[in-house]
Symmetry: C2
Amino acid sequence: MAKEITSREENYSQWYNDIVKKAGLADSSAVRGCMVIKPYGYAIWEKIRDQLDKMFKETGHVNAYFPLFVPKSLFEAEEKNAEGFAKECAIVTHYRLKNDPENKGKLIVDPDAKLEEELIVRPTSEAIIWNTYRDWIQSHRDLPILINQWANVVRWEMRTRPFLRTAEFLWQEGHTAHATSQEAIAESKLIHDLYAEFAESFMAMPVIKGYKSENERFAGAEETYTIEALMQDGKALQAGTSHFLGQNFAKAFNVTFSNAENEKEYVWATSWGVSTRLIGALIMTHSDDEGLVLPPKLAPIQVVIVPIPKPEPKLIEKAEEISLALKDLGISVKIDIDDTKRPGFKFAEYEMKGIPIRLGIGNRDLENNTIEVARRDTKEKLSVELDQVVPYIEKLLVEIQENLYSRSRSYRDDHITKIDTFESFKEVLENKGGFLSCHWDGTSETEDKIKEETKATIRCIPLDADYEDGKCVYSGKPSKRRVIFAKAY
Amino acid sequence: MAKEITSREENYSQWYNDIVKKAGLADSSAVRGCMVIKPYGYAIWEKIRDQLDKMFKETGHVNAYFPLFVPKSLFEAEEKNAEGFAKECAIVTHYRLKNDPENKGKLIVDPDAKLEEELIVRPTSEAIIWNTYRDWIQSHRDLPILINQWANVVRWEMRTRPFLRTAEFLWQEGHTAHATSQEAIAESKLIHDLYAEFAESFMAMPVIKGYKSENERFAGAEETYTIEALMQDGKALQAGTSHFLGQNFAKAFNVTFSNAENEKEYVWATSWGVSTRLIGALIMTHSDDEGLVLPPKLAPIQVVIVPIPKPEPKLIEKAEEISLALKDLGISVKIDIDDTKRPGFKFAEYEMKGIPIRLGIGNRDLENNTIEVARRDTKEKLSVELDQVVPYIEKLLVEIQENLYSRSRSYRDDHITKIDTFESFKEVLENKGGFLSCHWDGTSETEDKIKEETKATIRCIPLDADYEDGKCVYSGKPSKRRVIFAKAY
């Protein structure tokens, strides 16, 4: 093996870090909690971004760009939102450095260049955007506004992990403005559905769709819709949220419109986002002890062709012929012409990087008119006739995508456990993990106590839950439906 | 007219601001010097970005992402670079706000949350990137590194103008690492050529290719290659720069590699960037007193179809038929189905937004089997047979692109003036403006004095200048070639 990583069984957390490092996805940086997204990791983000961007545009959204900084007076305007982010934000206080008179070649902050008002590096952009929307919205004819932004944001998190929780991360944030509550709710649900569709069809990652309890709701939202995925270690990961913000931001920033009857009303809002965290979700949904496993639809390179034992002209020529035919079908291909590494090393490298299909092509294969096809997901290898390989690969990519989904779906389904007593809650949480489907009395107090005793939180109240009479798993009080508890990333 | 703007003759600067505002490109924000890029402005940036990204990838570059923040100790490591940016940078000093005990609902910076080391919001990323490259580069086999980043940067400029000079702007910054000086120089020239090709073929904006004098060189560079464009008011605009950085950053950050002989050497570097400033350049190269004029290759909407006098079903049906046929050719089309505005208003609106071609379709046209085609660039209108309109438009888009280039090229060529005396230098600069091609004695002192007396600077030393004996236009000292002076944005 070219590169060894810790096994999942041995140490899941270390396994994750090893994959991030050895698949070349990200690196640490000199800035606390901030990562460097390396070219291969960024290429995955580009696939995610391009697909989501297409889906946003198909549903009528446009992109725009708002400032990185939020003046403190705007930041504090929506109180709940401010409270939610005030404790972990980066604050710009000065705008100039000067030479340190006591240390040649060193710089110090120039005390004469203090800002009159501090600027917060955006942890999210509701404040700066709604302050702008006030100027853009006068009449109902100015609505809806359906804007998305691709941007970096900063949250000064204390404990960070690459992709999953970083001080700076990349994301998209949609911010829409509507004339009615109904329209805004419909928008937040539309995006909720879009996120679920993206997670399942592109990431091959099953998700539970639901809404958040009050404790877990976005600061400033009336309702937070979420998609919740389950990682291989039994912990949940919140993969995307869509918020119905009511008129909270319109009121905080005084954004009104004249309705058709020429009466002033406050505007209704939504916001929604997914981030580079999705790369962490991808890793922990599909990968194995050999490295990353990527669903074909998000793999920067879908097929790699390795000439065996080395890149001779005749083999490269054949590889190029196959590559061209695959590219015509929109399949991305790399031919490995590096002659300094042996095939075994390369195989391990491409397994580490999660390339869905590897083709090995040697002289004996050519003579027999065959080629070796290796699947990353099942690690199966088989010999395919050369003139059949292109259509075979086209079908195989679809099959791998489906297999990854059904595999993670089975795992997820096997890890939704109906729980009716707090004893079994603790036991299952400890030993099996996963989603715990339980009755809950609907109070924050109970949720807090369960979190305190077990670290589990309510991931969501599923939209498709049946109504049934039951008793809260903790307090024994009556409940009408089950909610999903889990430990979460 | 739906919206009137100041004429160029009356006030060029106000005309520019009017276009930015009334074409819906950008808006001011609550943050000093930062703009909001509105959806239409951002759509132009997406066209620019996507085309450049394609060209970067075709030349072997990959994207990555580095942190927004640069710790002060890294920022100051390359002294010239630090000196160039220290006086205008945003500095993060704290990471938490707390409730103001004296003002309920207000927040103040928590003095207990002071960072041990201040963070500079990147004005450019050489420092943070070269600090990372140290870990990535050991051997000559790790080179070259050909990385680009799409990012926001912040420079605390005192006087700002939308797109042209803003405190925060969007850009791409390439940062490459090479084993030899020759390779690094070749890379910086490759990108210089790529930028010129983009400016001329896509922006339809002629540029002079050259390199900077020492005064105007990028802080930390050994050589800065530039493309210089000429705006309609006779002022120059630096549209893109590509820097050969020598080993300056490798030395500052101790980045070495073992060469083939296993000896340690410092790595050679380039960096290069273009920004949202290009949108300002686009505006001031082509637009007129009716509004924005966009080259078809960068227009978010290339063709708009307006049913006349209003969007009746029969007209919409025909418009959709034409639209589909155009979209099949990769042409972007909007059909205006708004029935609350009159055609005259819409025409003015699309002129303001610079849509290259407008089609007017009415019942009488349908009867006559014709359609009205209006060009934005020349404002010509003519009637085209309906069944010819699709191929006609395909050709016309090419013609408009070429016409815009040749028009701005003629203007530019007419505004390169050979100057041999300082009297005529001042006279031409004052009355005609444009590029002044003059002999210069090669000293910073002379350049400084000319700048002081006239505000003109050396835009570049053109790569294609002939060698000829002459005398410096200011000092009379001998000179071997002419350089380009101008007032600049």
